[in-house]
């Protein structure tokens, strides 16, 4: 990825250009010390002069777009005043003497309700939307060079001297401060999507921090002071500006590309809302536009490269085919997964099948798309005007999920996941909660998955069967959890996880944890037999990918991993589980067993065992469990096989899966009361056994008899009230009890013959 730089030869501003800002409608406004405000279009062409001001402007910020709100920009002036100006250039409000000296930084909160200003006088003040002073948050002696709201709008991060400080706007919370740079910190930005902070300073470095002030990356020292730094709205990359330098950096810090616009220092940077264009305010008065080009996507054997801003080159390595896709407009966003390439230009969306590059499905989009999330059958588009729409691959609109307080501009690809039936989304306002939506209707489903700590990454598997829909997520402690989507049951499966990925085609789950590549070949095993889950897992040393590596794709048996320094690494796992999946999907257990015998691997046998238990294929279960030396389990399977009726077998299998409730349910539905009672007795659930017996008015004496025998064996006194009561009322006789049991069993056997 790199920028394509565009800059007018003769700069329109006659003096230093101090700030730039993209309006919500995709126009760039620039302010300069020559006391003018100019408007530019997205192609980097000068549009018009908006207005003249009486004092030099230092910083500007557009009110974040809300539905129906008119567009207002806040201009911070060098004399300590600030102005609210409409898009047409009319001064709506002018607050003089807001600060004692120049306002250096001005920022709207994300919901647009408050405006924070930071001045050379070392104060930060918060103003209401109408320009009324609400509070002075910070009063220090040193000038504050930059500030930014936290994603939750409840605190402000500011840069002063060599430090970064997060200060809560409401009393009661703790302030966090750390030394960030060896020189004065000049710029700071905090991405609400991924919660990562970047800063730059006079030590000629830029650094990346997490929200607690832990350093994630530190650049090398460059020739000049780094004057500006800005996240792209999607949080995947950021731009760094310095004297005659513009860099495009990945979110982990390493830089994609380096450019030398002849523009003097880049005083301020601003990204367009779709995250494809960055513009910088040049110290010599020029306005620099950087268009992201050379974006590369690869999926399986296909590679797509955005050559120019309206031309995509597709390269199919397997069939040795090259295709050039030309578009009329600038490509804003593109994504390729699940056999489909989705390309969004400024007005249209093209959906290509990888088998057929000549006839895409095309439909119009209203606004520029800044996020594409793909699932196996559907994909979701999020545009700059905060529409969130799900389409299928034929280009048909399916639904528009909505809920109260949805702020889609905070979403990124790791917050959203689409499968063939549900959409899962980390709630931006409460990251401990994952919301589930039905794709077809677009309505929230009645389950939400709640976790005790903040969830930072979440993904849903892509299998067809909705009953096997599982979700994996990582919380802020870097622990990884697995849960069924429709019946939430959160199980921790690993810790110190850097990143994970579901396989594109089947149910395999891979993660990088503590320098190892862990692959669960059959994560479903966790709901079948947890012992098998750990056995059906491959551990491979991946210490060479280093810390904090990001898994990009998991396709077939290949994982591609982006290391912290930006290089791509490819890790491979055994190819056999994939073949095994294919056989089991076709219910071809003969071949599956033959494959396992050929490979002779414990993991594969364990995998097959779990799969066959799930499919209730007891013969296969027996063979595969025997192969992994699980004698006790083989015994139980044999016992199950001998059971006379289908319901009792199912119940036994459920019991094997440690689903007692389910087992009891099955037995009671089949009116096998004795078995239900006996099961409870075996599990020492005496009260439940008695309840069942009483409810169904059978085998009460059996329960009492067994209880008595148990008490005698352990030489205990009766301590359960109910039993005390019933043992007095009901007498029992072992002969009659035995006879009754025999007759019940015979009845069951007879019924199934």
């Amino acid at each position: 990825m790199r920028f394509k730089i565009k800059r007018l030869e003769r700069s329109k501003h006659s003096d230093i250009c101090s700030s730039v800002g993209w309006s919500n409608s995709g126009e760039l406004f620039s302010v300069s010390d020559d006391l003018t405000v100019l408007k530019w279009d997205i192609n980097g062409e000068f549009d018009s002069k908006i207005m003249e001001i009486d004092v030099p402007v230092v910083d500007m910020d557009w009110l974040p777009s809300g539905k129906g709100a008119n567009e207002v920009v806040a201009l911070a002036c060098a004399d300590g005043s600030f102005k609210l100006v409409s898009k047409a250039g009319r001064v709506e409000k002018s607050i003089s003497e807001a600060h004692a000296s120049a306002i250096i930084s001005i920022k709207w909160s994300y919901e647009g309700a408050a405006l924070a200003t930071a001045g050379e006088d070392g104060q930060i003040k918060i103003w209401s939307r109408g320009g009324m002073l609400r509070s002075a948050v910070v009063q220090s002696s040193k000038p504050i060079y930059g500030l930014i709201w936290s994603p939750e709008n409840d605190s402000i991060l500011y840069a002063s001297d060599k430090n970064l400080t997060i200060i809560p706007t409401l009393p009661g919370n703790k302030q966090v401060q750390w030394k960030a740079h060896d020189g004065v910190v000049l710029g700071v930005d905090w991405n609400p999507g991924n919660n990562i902070i970047v800063s730059c300073g006079e030590d000629c470095k830029y650094r990346v921090w997490d929200q607690y002030g832990r350093q994630l990356y530190c650049s090398s020292a460059y020739d000049h002071v780094i004057t500006s730094i800005k996240w792209a709205p999607n949080g995947d990359y950021f731009a760094v500006g310095s004297f005659e330098m513009l860099r495009l950096c990945d979110k982990s810090g390493w830089s994609y590309s380096f450019h030398k616009p002849t523009s003097g220092s880049i005083m301020k940077l601003s990204w367009s809302h779709d995250g494809t264009v960055v513009s910088g305010a040049g110290g010599n008065g020029s306005v620099v536009f950087g268009y992201i080009v050379d974006r590369q996507l690869s999926w399986a054997h296909i590679e797509a490269v955005l050559d120019e801003d309206n031309k995509i080159q597709v390269n199919d390595c397997l069939h040795e085919m090259n295709e050039d896709l030309d578009f009329r407009e600038r490509v804003v966003n593109m994504s390729m997964k699940h056999n489909h390439l989705v390309v969004c230009t400024t007005t249209q969306c093209y959906v290509y099948n990888v088998m057929n590059w000549s006839s895409p499905f095309v439909f119009d989009v209203k606004d520029s798309i800044y996020l594409i999330v793909q699932g196996a059958k559907y994909f979701a588009l999020i545009d700059a005007s905060q529409n969130f729409i799900i389409y299928n691959y034929e280009g048909k609109l399916i639904s528009t999920p909505k809920f109260q307080g949805l702020r889609v501009e905070f979403l990124n690809a790791r917050h959203l996941s689409l499968s063939s039936d549900v959409l899962a989304m980390i709630d931006p306002s409460n990251p401990k909660v994952v919301r589930i939506f039905d794709i077809i209707s677009g309505r929230p489903s009645n389950v939400t998955i709640e976790h005790s700590t903040e969830i930072i990454e979440m993904d849903v598997n892509q299998v067809e069967m909705s009953s096997e829909r599982k979700m994996a997520f990582i919380d802020s402690n870097r622990d990884m959890f697995l849960t069924m989507v429709h019946k939430p049951e959160i199980i921790k499966i690993s810790s110190i996880v850097d990143s994970f990925q579901w396989n594109d085609g089947n149910d395999m789950l891979a993660c990088i944890a503590d320098g190892k590549l862990l692959t669960w070949f059959y994560p479903n095993a966790v709901y079948v037999d947890r012992d098998l889950m750990t056995k059906a897992m491959a551990v491979k040393d991946a210490s060479d990918v280093g810390k904090l590596a990001q898994m990009l794709t998991f396709n077939g048996n290949i994982c591609s991993v982006r290391r912290l320094d930006g290089s791509l690494a490819t890790l491979s796992i055994s190819p056999y589980p994939k073949i095994l999946y294919e056989y089991v999907d076709k219910a071809d257990f003969e071949k599956a067993i033959r494959l396992c015998r050929f490979v002779k691997e414990q993991t594969l046998w364990a995998c097959l065992a779990a799969m066959s238990i799930y499919c209730r294929e007891l013969n296969t279960v027996e063979i595969s469990l025997a192969a992994i030396d699980e004698a006790d389990k083989v015994q139980f399977i044999n016992y199950i096989k001998d059971l006379p009726s289908e319901p009792s077998r199912n119940a036994a299998l459920a019991l094997y899966c440690k689903k007692i409730q389910e087992a009891e349910q099955i037995l009671l539905q089949a009116r096998l009361y004795y078995r239900a009672i006996k099961m409870n007795i075996k599990l020492f659930r005496w009260e439940r056994a008695l309840d069942v017996a009483l409810q169904n008015k059978s085998h009460v004496d059996t329960v009492i008899a067994y209880r008595q025998r148990f008490l005698q064996q352990y030489q205990k006194e009766e301590d359960i009230e109910k039993f005390k009561q019933y043992s007095k009322e009901i007498a029992f006789d072992w002969d009659t009890v035995k006879k009754k049991i025999r007759s019940d069993k015979d009845k069951e056997a007879a019924a199934n013959q």
């Binding site: 030869e9 003769r10 230093i16 101090s18 010390d33 030099p56 230092v58 060098a78 000296s101 120049a102 250096i104 050379e120 000038p143 060079y145 001297d161 020189g183 004065v184 000049l186 006079e202 000629c204 000049h224 002071v225 004297f243 002849t262 003097g264 220092s265 005083m267 110290g283 010599n284």
Partner: protein
């Protein structure tokens, strides 16, 4: 001081290429070293020949430094800096320095925009050549300025005289304008003009006279030239006539000349012969000397032998043996006598010897064989031989002259 100024200053300094990064907070506290360094850099950048000491060790040095910098910029760039603020070296100093920085930055920008060139290196080169062009133009302009200055000076020098005339004229004009009704001024002007016309007509007549005079002179000169030309022609004709006449004594003169030539040749021949003969004579004398010495030796030997023989004679009685010994001695003596006896030998034998010697030597003048034979023949009587030789030469001369001419 304000944030904006500091920021702009940092930015401008970066653009100007100042060698260190200036922090936005560098001037929060007095920082004289940095201010001094920046000012020194400015001064050198503005005028590389500026003579400013960069010594800021002591207070008076600092004051001197600031003053000299201020003077430099005031004199050369017409930028007034506040030395007190500069000396404070705080934010206000930035304001002062910003004046200079902005001037330099604008200069840089304007040159950039005219060049319209991205490449900085090429820009520099291009600048140099264009500056060279400018240099020539500037020099020319400088000389023009001095010239016109000198002219102006001269004119101003004449002002003293001119003023009187001008005053007069002004007075006159005033009087005209004052007395429009009277005619005196007009009459005066008429008179003046008439005077001028008279003068001119007089001058014209004089000129006509001189022209007439000159015409006459011209005619005279023409006739003179004609005369001279005729004379020249005549002289040339005579010269040709004289050239064609041949003098009668010429033939004789030529003949004599040829004769003289021949005689000279003969003379040369003779001279060389004489020279040769003298040389031969010298050699001969030399050989004679040698031979005489050898003879002397032999004689001494003989005397010795004789003495010995006498001794033997006295000792022995055998006659025969003595006789044989004697014979041997005599034979020996005879042989030696014939070996070197040149004067005593008959002339024929002598001539043979001569002949041989001559052959050995005679390669130099092989054509003169006959003459030498003659000379050798007449060796005994030298006078006769000489005469004979002279005759022969004469004969030869007579014959040779015919041949030569």
């Amino acid at each position: 001081m304000s944030y904006r100024e500091l920021r702009n200053f940092c930015e401008i300094m970066r653009a100007l290429g100042y060698h260190r990064n200036i922090s936005i907070e560098n001037f929060k506290d007095p920082n004289f070293e940095l201010v001094a360094d920046i000012l020194y850099w400015f001064a050198l950048r503005y005028d590389p020949k500026a003579d400013i000491s960069d010594d800021i060790e002591e207070e008076k040095d600092r004051v001197l430094f600031i003053r000299s910098v201020c003077q430099l910029f005031a004199a050369k760039a017409r930028i007034t800096l506040n030395p007190k603020k500069l000396y404070e070296a705080q934010g206000f100093a930035v304001k002062e320095m910003l004046k200079v920085a902005q001037m330099m930055y604008k200069a840089m920008q304007s040159s950039q925009t005219t060049e319209d060139d991205e490449n900085a290196g090429a820009l520099m080169d291009f600048n140099m050549s264009s500056k060279l062009h400018d240099l020539k133009a500037a020099r020319q302009l400088a000389t023009e300025i001095t010239e016109s200055g000198a002219k102006l000076f001269d004119l101003l020098g004449q002002e003293k005289d001119l003023r009187e005339a001008r005053d007069k004229a002004l007075e006159f004009l005033d009087s005209i304008s004052r007395n429009l009704d009277t005619n005196t001024e007009q009459q005066y002007i008429e008179k003046c003009i008439r005077n001028i016309i008279d003068q001119q007509t007089r001058k014209m007549n004089e000129m006509e006279d001189t022209v007439k005079q000159l015409r006459m002179d011209e005619g005279e000169l023409d006739s003179k030239i004609k005369r001279r030309k005729i004379e020249l022609e005549r002289a040339e004709k005579r010269m040709k006539g004289i050239e064609n006449v041949k003098p009668e004594y010429q033939e004789e003169y030529e003949r004599l000349e040829a004769e003289l030539e021949r005689f000279y040749m003969i003379y040369v021949e003779k001279f060389s012969n004489i020279d040769y003969l003298e040389y031969e004579l010298d050699r001969y004398n030399l050989q004679e000397e040698k031979r005489r010495k050898e003879d002397q030796k032999v004689i001494e030997n003989l005397q010795n032998n004789q003495r010995r023989a006498e001794e033997i004679f006295n000792d022995e009685d055998d006659d025969e043996a003595n006789k044989k010994q004697k014979d041997k001695l005599f034979n020996e003596m005879r042989e030696t006598r014939t070996g070197f006896g040149a004067k005593g030998q008959p002339p024929g034998k002598n001539g043979n010897y001569k002949q041989g010697a001559h052959v050995a030597e005679g390669e130099l003048q092989p054509e003169d064989d006959d003459d030498e034979d003659d000379e050798d023949v007449g060796d005994d009587d030298e006078d006769e031989g000489d005469d004979n030789d002279g005759d022969q030469v004469d004969d030869d001369q007579e014959e040779g002259s015919d041949h030569d001419f």
